[in-house]
């Protein structure tokens, strides 16, 4: 149950970090995201990674707070309660598949092989990375073509 609550909080804070307009509020939401991530690592017995993530997050956030303050246009608009509630609701809605669905089913990959095992031991990760690289190249090409067409 604790994992579900933390992942819901993680996704809500990620949504807030992206969609809040004011830089300081979004950096604060990003701080919550890093904190929840660190908590997830800690609960999953990855203690060293959790500590390191926490330390790294503190450094990154300090720089982000400073640069956010430097770059913001000094408009102290507080986010409206309605927008905040909508964002929290959207984040909670997005986290439903995370809680309910499961793709780590051994029957998906093959007999007797867990999904994680296939990714880590059977070089499935390489295939995933190659797919990501191809996707990035395709996306970049599409953007360049779109920009060329727009300028022409």
């Amino acid at each position: 149950m604790i994992f579900e609550i933390i992942s819901t909080g993680l996704l809500i804070s990620a949504c807030l970090a992206i969609f809040l307009d004011e830089a300081i509020y979004s950096v604060s939401a990003l701080a919550c995201t890093f904190f929840f991530t660190s908590l997830l690592y800690l609960l999953n017995d990855a203690i060293y990674v959790a500590i390191f993530q926490f330390a790294v997050a503190v450094g990154t956030l300090a720089i982000l707070f400073l640069s956010g303050e430097m770059l913001s246009t000094k408009s102290e608009n507080k986010p409206s309660v309605n927008k905040l509630l909508i964002l929290i609701f959207a984040g909670a809605l997005i986290s439903i598949p995370t809680i309910l669905l499961s793709i780590s089913n051994p029957s998906i990959v093959g007999s007797g092989i867990a999904f994680e095992e296939a990714l880590w031991d059977l070089r499935g990760m390489d295939v995933v990375f190659q797919g990501l690289v191809l996707l990035t190249v395709a996306l970049g090409t599409a953007i360049i073509l779109y920009e060329k067409k727009r300028r022409a």
């Binding site: 993680l10 970090a17 995201t33 999953n44 060293y48 640069s67 770059l71 598949p97 669905l101 994680e116």
Partner: protein, 101 residues
């Protein structure tokens, strides 16, 4: 509860922010979310398999990510000071105006 879906969702939020937001700081934060989602997946995989070496590599990845973040933020501040705005469209417009002059 599945951490693969959680990390994919986080990456999807980050990619959405990367494609739609025009503010440089937001773009940088979207990239941070994408990397956090990716590392979350790897940490959960290694910890569930009990492989300490994977965690060691991830710590290395974390430190590299932080250094890159510092450099990118420094460049971001320089760009914003030069053009007076952090909006990508505004920066492109100013650049095009300078080119035509």
């Amino acid at each position: 509860m599945d951490f693969v879906i959680l990390s994919l969702t986080m990456m999807a939020i980050g990619i959405y922010g990367l494609l739609t937001k025009r503010d440089l700081l937001k773009v940088f934060m979207s990239v941070e979310l994408i990397t956090t989602g990716a590392t979350l997946n790897f940490v959960m995989l290694t910890s569930s398999l009990g492989k300490g070496l994977g965690e060691a590599f991830l710590i290395l990845a974390f430190s590299t990510d932080t250094v890159i973040s510092g450099v990118v933020l420094a460049l971001l501040v320089i760009v914003c000071k030069k053009y007076g705005t952090s909006d990508i469209n505004e920066i492109l417009k100013t650049e095009q105006k300078e080119e035509t002059l």
